[in-house]
């Protein structure tokens, strides 16, 4: 079982509940805005604490309210690509990419893909010496994907990563994510409110309502 998630959270007057059991390496959370998709990702990443339930990825328990397990976000190894790139504005792209690299790892390869190959695949080789403020939306989002992957995560969380991009860039990033998954086999949770994006990626679609 790759994904075994059952979480509940009460925020104000609405209940967020999500139950996922899937062996697919790529799952998509789908639903209208305000249904708790981002909150679910935040709970998986450890940025938000569920009221009760459990989160297990690839057999590893990240959170379990019964067993008293709650691994800190910094040690969950979730590569999180947020809706907006969230690159560190005071660091060049190169330093941003290096930020999450585990200590003592010189090359920083990811799941059998070398750092150079990844930078090549993302098409960000020419951006390494630029400041985040000078990047276009698509460039920044690709750099953010690279930064998340170079932290050698156990899974990749993508929160509507292409919603702010134009159509041409969207398909490009989608194809990129599909290729990354095919090449590295990394588990992916993809959040979107657009059904077409999810059909492109295939995998298990979980509808939240």
């Amino acid at each position: 079982m790759i994904f075994d998630i059952d979480i509940h959270l009460r925020r104000g007057d609405r209940d967020i509940a999500c139950r996922i059991r899937s062996d697919s390496g790529i799952i998509a959370l789908f639903g209208p805005s305000g249904v708790g998709k981002t909150s679910t990702l935040n709970m998986i990443a450890g940025l938000l604490r569920p009221d009760h339930g459990h989160i297990a990825i690839g057999g590893q328990r990240l959170f379990d309210s019964h067993a008293g397990i709650d691994i800190a976000a910094a040690r969950r190894r979730c590569g999180y690509v947020f809706q907006e790139p969230r690159l560190f504005p005071h660091m060049r792209v190169r330093a941003n990419l290096r930020y999450g690299r585990p200590r003592g790892q010189a090359d920083g390869g990811v799941h059998g893909l070398s750092q150079e190959a990844l930078i090549e695949l993302l098409g960000i080789g020419s951006l390494l010496d630029r400041w985040p403020a000078s990047l276009s939306g698509g460039e920044a989002q690709r750099a953010a994907i690279g930064r998340a992957l170079l932290s050698t995560p156990r899974l990749l969380l993508l929160d509507e990563p292409i919603s702010s991009l134009d159509l041409a860039r969207r398909t490009e990033i989608l194809a990129l994510i599909a290729r990354l998954h095919a090449l590295t086999g990394i588990a992916v949770v993809y959040v979107s409110h657009d059904r077409a994006e999810l059909d492109y990626l295939a995998g298990d679609v979980i509808a939240l309502s």
Partner: protein, 211 residues
Amino acid sequence: MMAMLPVAFALAWLLARARFPGKLILDTLVHLPLVVPPVVTGWLLLLLFGPQGPIGRWLLDWFGITLLFRWTGAALAAAIMALPLMVRAMRLSIAAIDHRLEQAAQTLGASAVRIFCTISLPLALPGIFAGAMLGFARSIGEFGATITFVSDIPGETRTLPIAIYSALQLPDSDHVVLRLALLSVALSFAALLLSEYLARRAMAAGRSHDL
């Protein structure tokens, strides 16, 4: 003033980020020197740090230090008077740090200490400098609290404004007063200019976060 920087930063951080009982009281206390007449601040310092005062006696008994009528006392008075301005500027810049960036660093495996050193502190730096400059400008202009607390002793506690004031008391001192006044205006002008410049740069940087 330099010694006050970490204190001001700690206070600013506490007031910007933490939630604790008595926060409003601490906030008010820090800002008190801004609105209380400086003479009153000086008098309170005299009560606290004088040889009979609770802190003054303790310092004297344990360390043999006395602040009264010494330059260290003048520095303390200047620091207390500068504190509110420093804390205000720093607090604004700390509050302006995008918490989402710190979250991103967290998911990349960064420890709390590393996040503070590599993300929060660098992003707050322009505000810290701006606050320090503002505090510097305020402290070189300190008159009321200083003269009340440590009096006017040439070469020991005579600050720039006190020197101007005492020069004014003497006949034929116009050129001395003019020189000192020009110096005072120039220092303050430079400090304010730098502080304003840094604050603007910080704001511009803050805008580009939203990308």
